[in-house]
């Protein structure tokens, strides 16, 4: 199963809606490339929506961690929303759920980014 990535904006926040599997190979490479592009651009705050992702492996986890570190170093934020099923389990096993802020809905994630920006 391939991966579809849609990019949209909510104010200054970039939101990636993912659909499919993020596994080693073309899908994993596309995910990495998209995150790298965002990390290298002027975007600061990114939300990655996993609601429609059924599987992620270590290559996807690696891409996510690298982007998180890269965005954080640049003063930005990466937030994950809606990880479910096996994806959620992978996040727990790899401690990603404790490394990267994780929310169950987009509104809460956006609110947390706004409050962070307001406090800055």
């Amino acid at each position: 199963m391939s991966l579809r990535i849609s990019v949209r904006k909510s104010g200054a926040v970039t939101i990636l809606d993912l659909m499919g599997c993020i596994t080693f190979g073309a899908a994993g490479d596309a995910f990495k490339a998209q995150l790298r592009e965002i990390a290298e651009s002027a975007e600061r705050d990114v939300i990655v929506n996993f609601a429609e992702v059924s599987q992620i492996d270590s290559s996807g986890v690696g891409a996510l961690v690298q982007s998180y570190v890269s965005l954080t170093r640049g003063g930005g934020t990466l937030i994950v929303i809606n990880p479910v099923g096996k994806v959620r389990e992978v996040f727990e096993v790899t401690h990603l759920n404790r490394t990267i802020a994780t929310y169950t809905d987009e509104t809460a994630a956006l609110a947390s980014l706004r409050s962070t920006s307001a406090g800055a």
């Binding site: 080693f24 270590s58 986890v61 690696g62 389990e89 727990e92 401690h95």
Partner: protein, 234 residues
């Protein structure tokens, strides 16, 4: 009742060496972070291995009467930290067994460190490793399956025993980013339960084995699988 260790200050069990006088715990000679009540609970358990240490005894000895804290939560959290430091599991315990609603019991064999054995923790562990090597050389070449007693579908396999130690250090320090970075660098391999592995080395079987991964994303790679993550060994 088994022998207690009222005067011994250095003990070893599995791959661990504990110095009760200095408050240090080591695994394979590497220091494991464990302090405060989790360390004190371990010390109390080691006073009488094989015997029940009741929750009441724990409360009396470690929580002063004039402190108003949630003892139940405190003892559960401390035992959880202790288990993490020992890479132990409450469902399949190798060291600390829970006796529901009653207390805890230390179930592994405990040895005092003889005064003539020298004070180097490394030398003690090395001696134990040699003993274990003869016992499980028959595992080499066997096929085992990766499993997780917590019932998850995935486990993290370190690529070497050194990375295994680093992972434990991260877990003891609650360094979640450290764990995630080890996964990103593929020093910790995210492996499905049920993955087949071949045992390459079982010099320290109580701790784990060096294995070759036989299927899945990391087929062909070498890794170090803790004993708790290996099933099907005879």
């Amino acid at each position: 009742m088994r022998d207690a260790f009222p005067v011994a200050t250095e003990l070893c069990f599995g791959a661990y060496h504990i110095d009760l006088r200095t408050g240090e715990l080591r695994k394979h000679g590497r220091k494991v972070r464990l302090a405060g009540r989790p360390f004190q609970i371990l010390a109390l358990l080691l006073e009488q291995p094989g015997e029940l240490l009741t929750r009441k005894q724990l409360q009396e000895r470690l929580w002063p009467r004039d402190t108003f804290v949630d003892f139940e939560h405190g003892v559960n959290a401390a035992v959880q930290t202790l288990r993490r430091a020992l890479c132990d599991s409450h469902k399949k315990p190798r060291y600390v067994e829970t006796l529901p609603r009653r207390g805890y019991r230390f179930i592994a064999a405990v040895e005092t460190v003889p005064a003539t054995a020298g004070r180097s923790p490394g030398s003690v562990v090395h001696q134990k490793e040699k003993t274990a090597a003869a016992a499980r050389s028959d595992w080499i070449g066997q096929i085992a399956k990766i499993c997780d007693d917590a019932g998850r579908n995935y486990v993290l396999l370190p690529i070497t025993e050194e990375i295994f130690a680093e992972m434990n250090d991260c877990e003891a320090a609650k360094d979640d980013l450290g764990i995630s970075l080890l996964v990103a660098a593929e020093k910790l391999l995210l492996v499905n339960c049920g993955t087949k592995v071949k045992i390459l080395d079982a010099r320290n079987p109580d701790l784990g084995c060096k294995v070759r991964i036989l299927d899945g994303q990391f087929v062909g790679e070498k890794a170090f699988a803790s004993r708790a993550h290996l099933s099907g060994l005879s």
